[in-house]
């Protein structure tokens, strides 16, 4: 056995092919076999031993860098590994990148070490090596713990503390947001929703419903929470579910849809309008209770998307209907005594439409 066989360069260069293998949980030996299969040995005309020694060098490097990667600014400050900034960023980004199938499993679970044990099941289910699953779980947990009690913009906080790209930081923000509000995502009814669906919806909620949204006047709290005041205002929307308003609203919507929707679809809308409208308003009013907040995705699926899908309304039709539903309220002058409610209505519906359309699939 080789006692020592190390290669150290003045510049630390990362072999990203190996880095990915390492991140994916391949052992040095498996990685060597993988490369052997991919034909690297033949191409470079080298023996397995040489390839293996190179892999070990890189793996040792990755292992010693992992300590720094847990706090990325440390990797930027350190002097032991002289690296180009681009490469540092890439190393960090890849370390924090995750598989959406894995995170989809973790989503909604409490990020505690108790749940870390479940990673074995996740690994089995997703066929992603356990080491990789654990890394992803730990990353989520670490990011969550760092930013959960922080003031200011969630995405910005993640970006400064983990030096991630805008895109990845947004995804982490969504996960943190979902975890913090303990949204229900694991029910069987929701199993058709993908990770990307949740990320999209959560980000919409962060921008429009949280304390950092433009409409929110008091920024005393954090990004991770929904704007309490807004949620309280939402209760006023029950006005729309009252009988006279409902009928009037229905008429307005149907007439509005005359130009834009086929007759068949219009009939479907006409039939179920009352139920759908009630469901949408009920969700709005319920958001004041934290229990209902948690079930928002469940409610949206059960009460809105499922019924619409079952009667065969297409996604473009759904879009047309919801837009009409939103816009007609403004014309109807329901809130002539509470003009601020128009803003609340707009704020609620805009996000809701986007979310519903995102999850409008089977």
């Amino acid at each position: 056995m080789t006692a020592v066989d190390v290669f150290v360069g003045n510049y630390t260069l990362i072999d990203f092919e190996l880095y990915d293998l390492w991140l994916n949980g391949y052992s040095a030996h498996d990685a060597a076999l993988f490369l052997q299969k991919s034909g690297v040995l033949q191409k470079a005309d080298v023996s397995m031993e040489i390839v293996y020694s190179d892999i070990q060098d890189q793996y040792r490097l990755f292992t010693s860098m992992e300590k720094l990667l847990k706090s990325p600014p440390k990797l930027i400050d350190q002097q032991i590994y002289q690296m180009e900034t681009d490469m540092q960023k890439r190393v960090i980004e890849r370390y924090y990148r995750f598989d959406s199938v894995v995170v989809r499993e973790i989503l909604g679970k409490k990020l505690s070490s108790r749940n870390r044990k479940d990673m074995e099941d996740v690994s089995e289910k997703t066929r992603i090596p356990i080491r990789s699953c654990r890394r992803q779980f730990d990353n989520l947990k670490r990011v969550f713990k760092t930013v959960e009690d922080m003031m200011g913009s969630l995405v910005e906080n993640i970006k400064t503390h983990y030096l991630l790209s805008e895109d990845l930081a947004r995804q982490y923000a969504a996960i943190v947001f979902i975890a913090n509000n303990r949204f229900e995502t694991g029910k069987k009814k929701l199993s058709h929703l993908t990770f990307e669906d949740f990320v999209f919806c959560a980000n919409q909620m962060i921008t429009n419903w949280s304390y950092s949204s433009v409409e929110c006047k008091v920024h005393e709290d954090m990004d991770v929470d929904l704007d309490r005041r807004f949620l309280q205002d939402l209760r006023e929307l029950k006005l729309i579910a009252e009988k006279e308003v409902l009928d009037d609203h229905k008429g307005q919507v149907i007439s509005h849809l005359k130009q834009t929707m086929s007759k068949k679809s219009r009939q479907i809308v006409e039939e179920s309008f009352k139920n759908w409208s009630k469901a949408i308003i009920n969700i709005a009013c319920g958001l004041n209770h934290s229990k209902d907040v948690r079930d928002i995705f469940l409610d949206l699926v059960e009460k809105v998307t499922e019924p619409c899908l079952s009667v065969g309304l297409t996604a473009p039709d759904m879009n047309t209907f919801l837009s009409a539903y939103k816009d007609t309220i403004v014309k109807m002058d329901v809130f002539r005594h509470q003009p601020h409610m128009l803003v609340v209505w707009d704020r609620y519906m805009k996000t809701l439409i986007l979310c519903v359309l995102q999850i409008y699939h089977t």
Partner: protein, 1022 residues
């Protein structure tokens, strides 16, 4: 010059957690210089403390300023228990002691702990105020600059070579003292590290005094070694070349008029000094030399085996050293005459540790000289007077001097000294290249003007007149005339700025009839007048004057011989010294075979390392092979052997065939195929006026021309290993010299690397030993595969036999990208164009010969001309070649731009390709010790070493950056001693590195690189 040292501790960052309960640290810093200690306040509960301390002031005499490092210790305050050490920083103050530097060090230093490695960083500012000395009687060496760089540092001009300087300091090793039994490993490591630092300072100071006495102001080619003798202590040795340097930019513009007085003086001095040279001849005649090979004159002191314990040497050595002293006293009278430049005859040891010399300095190259001696280590009783160690080296140097004389030379270039220690045996080795030099060369000529023939001619005849009577003088004059006319031809072809070749360097410095050993002489391939050897081995870097064809090739000979386990000092010593000549002979014949197989005839940068282990004796010789135009073209080696059967005969033929193929392939690879024409054409030009001597010699050289490889039987291991030597992968070139010979041009640094390999080795066959090296090279190439095409330069192998049956190889080098190489098709085209270009500008037929040069400026000029010719040739092909070139240029450009920002470049070469050295900031030399008692937890031996080497480099970079530098040139890992104890989960390693911190800028390369790109956009219009 006493001085005041001022230190300010600004802040820390990334400190380790020392208090488990809070996950924080209460850090403070102790600043120590000599006996004085200051402390900062305690910065409570922070991993990124801000101290912003006051200025701590220390006072010191210049001895302590030079010897003692500034020591900073970071500690964690603990109210109830003892304060815990976090780590230390040592700062060498020497770079602050020169006059023309900004006297401040500031930056982030890694906090280093010998047990835990780097633990955070400390931001410091250090200043030194020097008072001018009032005491005129005390000689201070403050301000003497040290350079590891083995040539005149860029931006400087060498005024005087003051001569060889050496010093030796001895101390007890803290690791072997009684106190070590009771103190912690950390304390012991720190004591050792401090001692190494102090010894190194003391050594430099003492050498500095010597240089000052000689009238110099700098040491170049400074090389420092620590012999860890174990029980008998530590010997710190330093050798270098004392010189007087000036910066032309500071004093005056390098105008010829400013320097001319000196130039006028020099021939005068030389003339008046020559009368004192008669002893020269006597020495040559008397020195008895035992020789076992043509070029490597190896002579082991024959007494060493018998009387290795008694330092005073036997008969033959006393004789030669005696004659040396005769010269010394005899020519002392001449000192007054040569006030400025000491004549070569005045130097006690005319040795030069430099490997690269100004144009005109070297007159003739003789060949490699080396001396070895096996000694038994004994206790050094009086560290103040290390007589025995001094005597050993005196002995060796005297021997080298004698060998040098025997070759008709008076100087040794590229001189190195090495040791190998195993238990109580020490083998001392010294190697160099014997040469005739012209110390009073004209310094102004070092850059542009071809060497003035008058400066060479008067020196030569006067030295050789007495030996060879008049006949020789005539030949010489004729030669120089022919040579200068040829030079004119070359100059015509390649304008100003191109290297001017001088075949004089290759001519044998001795008379053929009095050759010190049997050597095949033939006629010089360039001047066709004088005699040259068939091969030339040197330890120096390729001089610009010697014309070479094609590319250089890496050559390595490896020999491993089993040795009986030690049976006690004396018998062991005897066995080793009996074994050495055989080992050396084998190394030599391997080198020779490989050289022939490459189709080349010269070696540069030859390094021979002998290592003694408990049961092995290993010799590794590394060099860069070239084809020197002046030397005869090597023929394909012919296999000879006794074939007893038909089958064996066919096997021999098979070997012959394979050898021939290999030679052809090698020639093709190194661009040597086309040179046949280049060599024949000058002959046709010159033969008209050549005298009968040429033809006469042609006859004699004819039968000696073929090189015969003796084959004992068809399965001869030597032959098999010879043929087995694998080619480097496509896109790789490898060289061990610091200057790049031949047609290779470097564009930028890509990666400096260190590979440490250690494994148990049981000698089964020769090939298993050779495989280790072949494998290592393959490994490096595989790791750097993404950088290809590239050139691995400054490759240095170092072999240790740390424990019984274990081999450790440390390989360092730098990977550089190549200029104007993209693909073979492109290269071919350039070639034809280049030839075309030559045919247009110069009417000589020897154009292909001149096409090789390493001057970058010229290469770039060619780019533009080539473009226009390319356009004439046809539009279709041009865009394609442009594309590739553009890509390769852009690639290297991007690389340099990106890296230059705030990275520190390290390189074993004396310069960084693509960059210009603006300033030298001081010599860096440090000994690091790292120990771990939790080996398994940090990834075993491998993890330990990988981290440690990375930490060493990080420390080096931080030190360079704190001086305001962005590069370290002439980087060398002098020592890497690893002691493992896997059973105890413990390991210890010592690494010594050195180099010159520099500021580099890339302004020049920018303007040049941008040009071809702009050209490209213009081309459609034309």
């Amino acid at each position: 010059m006493p001085g005041k040292v001022k230190v300010r501790v600004v802040a820390g960052r990334g400190l380790p957690v020392m208090d488990r309960s809070t996950d924080l640290t209460d850090a403070y810093v102790e600043v120590r210089f000599g006996p004085d200690v200051f402390k900062t306040d305690i910065c409570k509960k922070s991993l990124n403390p801000q101290w912003n301390s006051e200025w701590f002031k220390f006072e010191g005499e210049d001895e302590s300023l030079q010897d003692e490092p500034l020591e900073l210790r970071v500690l964690d305050h603990d109210t109830y228990s003892a304060n815990d050490a976090i780590g230390k920083i040592y700062i060498d103050l020497n770079p602050l002691l020169t006059k023309d530097m900004p006297k401040v060090i500031s930056g982030w230093f890694p906090i280093y702990d010998t047990m835990h490695g780097i633990r955070g960083e400390l931001n410091l500012i250090v200043k030194v105020d020097l008072f001018s000395d009032v005491n005129k009687f005390r000689q201070s060496s403050c301000g003497i600059q040290f350079f590891s760089t083995a040539e005149v540092p860029s931006g400087y001009r060498m005024q005087v070579i003051n001569g060889f300087v050496e010093e030796l300091v001895v101390n007890d090793d803290p690791e072997y003292q009684w106190i070590d039994k009771i103190r912690t490993p950390r304390a012991s490591n720190e004591a050792r590290q401090r001692l190494f630092s102090k010894l190194s300072g003391e050594l430099q100071r003492k050498i500095g005094v010597k240089v000052a006495e000689l009238g110099g102001n700098a040491v170049i080619g400074y090389c420092q070694c620590f012999d860890l003798e174990g029980e008998s202590g530590i010997v710190a040795r330093g050798i270098g070349t004392g010189v007087t340097l000036i910066r032309p930019s500071q004093l005056m513009p390098p105008s010829p008029q400013g320097a001319s007085p000196q130039f006028k003086d020099s021939p005068l001095i030389e003339d008046s000094a020559t009368p004192s040279s008669p002893p020269n001849i006597i020495r040559c005649a008397t020195s008895p030399v035992k020789v076992n090979s043509p070029q490597t004159v190896v002579r082991r002191s024959s007494e060493s085996d018998a009387s290795s314990t008694t330092p005073p040497k036997g008969s033959s050595l006393t004789e030669s050293s005696g004659s040396g002293s005769v010269v010394g006293s005899g020519s002392k009278a001449a000192t007054k005459l040569s006030a400025q430049q000491p004549s070569i005859d005045l130097m006690e040891y005319p040795f030069f540790t430099m490997t690269s010399f100004p144009v005109g300095f070297i007159v003739h190259l003789g060949g490699v000289v080396s001396a070895k001696s096996v000694k038994l280590l004994d206790k050094i009783h009086n560290p103040e007077e290390p007589e025995t160690r001094d005597a050993w080296w005196t002995e060796i140097r005297t021997e080298i001097r004698t060998h040098c004389k025997a070759m008709g030379c008076h100087a040794v270039l590229g001189y190195t000294e090495k040791t190998t220690i195993c238990d109580e045996i020490i083998v001392l080795c010294a190697t160099g290249t014997a040469a005739r030099v012209n110390v009073t060369y004209d310094p102004t000529s070092s850059t542009r003007v071809p060497p003035p023939p008058p400066a060479v001619v008067p020196e030569k005849p006067s030295a050789e007149k007495e030996r060879d009577k008049k006949l020789y003088v005539d030949v010489n004059l004729a030669n120089s005339a022919a040579q200068s006319s040829l030079q004119a031809l070359y100059d015509h072809g390649s304008d100003d700025g191109s290297p001017h070749y001088n075949c004089l360097l290759c001519h044998v410095p001795y008379k053929p009839s009095s050759a010190p050993f049997p050597v095949n002489l033939s006629v010089c391939g360039i001047c066709r007048k004088r005699k040259v050897p068939d091969v030339l081995f040197t330890t120096i870097d390729p001089p610009t004057e010697i014309q070479t064809h094609g590319k250089g090739a890496f050559i390595q000979a490896r020999v491993c011989r089993p040795k009986a386990k030690s049976k006690g000092g004396e018998s062991n010593a005897r066995e080793i010294s009996d074994c050495l000549p055989f080992l050396e002979y084998e190394l030599h014949s391997q080198l020779m075979n490989k050289l022939k197989l490459c189709g080349m005839n010269g070696l540069y940068g030859l390094k021979i390392q002998i290592t003694v282990g408990e049961s092995l004796l290993v010799g590794v010789a590394t060099a860069t092979a070239v084809f020197m135009a002046a030397l005869p073209m090597p023929s394909v080696p012919r296999v000879s052997g006794q074939a007893t059967s038909e089958e064996e005969n066919s096997r021999l033929q098979e070997i012959q065939k394979r050898i021939s193929e290999k030679v052809l392939r090698n020639r093709e690879k190194h661009e040597l195929l086309h040179i046949d024409t280049g060599q024949i054409s000058p002959r046709s030009v010159v033969t008209d006026d050549s005298d009968e001597e040429t033809s006469e010699l042609d006859l004699s050289s004819g039968n000696k021309d073929t090189f015969v490889i003796e084959v004992d039987d068809a399965n001869d291991e030597n032959i098999i290993s010879l043929l087995k030597q694998s080619q480097l992968p496509e896109g790789f070139t490898m060289l061990n010299t610091h200057k790049i010979p031949g047609s290779t041009t470097l564009a930028s640094n890509l990666q400096m690397f260190t590979q440490i390999w250690r494994q148990e080795f049981v000698s089964t066959s020769k090939s298993s030993f050779i495989d280790i090296f072949e494998n290592l090279v393959k490994k490096i190439c595989y790791k750097l595969r993404r950088m290809s095409p590239c050139c691995l330069c400054g490759i240095d192998f170092s072999v240790d036999l740390p424990e019984d049956r274990e081999i450790q190889i440390t390989l360092t080098g730098v990977c550089c990208s190549l200029e104007n190489v993209s693909d073979s098709a492109f290269e071919l085209q350039t070639y034809s164009k280049e030839n075309l270009l030559k045919a247009v500008s110069a009417t000589t037929t020897s154009s292909s010969g001149t096409s090789e040069r390493d001057d970058m400026m010229f290469q770039m000029e060619e780019f533009s001309t080539e473009g226009s010719i390319g356009n004439l040739q046809g539009h279709t092909r041009v865009p394609l070649t442009r594309q590739t070139k553009e890509n390769s240029v852009r690639r290297s450009l991007e690389h340099t731009v990106q890296k230059h920002k705030n990275c520190v470049e390290l390189t074993p070469l004396p310069s960084i390709p693509g960059f210009k050295i603006e300033r030298y900031l001081g010599n860096y030399n440090f000994f690091f010790i790292r120990e771990s008692t939790s080996l398994r937890e940090i990834g075993g031996q491998g993890g330990f070493m990988q981290t440690f080497v990375a930490e060493v480099m990080a420390n080096v970079r931080a030190n360079v950056a704190s001086l305001g530098g962005n590069g370290l040139v002439s980087y060398r890992m002098n020592q890497c001693v690893l002691m493992c104890n896997p059973h105890k989960n413990q390991s210890q390693c010592l690494i010594n590195v050195s180099g010159d911190a520099v500021v580099v800028s890339s302004e020049e390369s920018f303007s040049i690189i941008v040009e071809p790109l702009r050209k490209n956009s213009d081309s459609p219009i034309t």
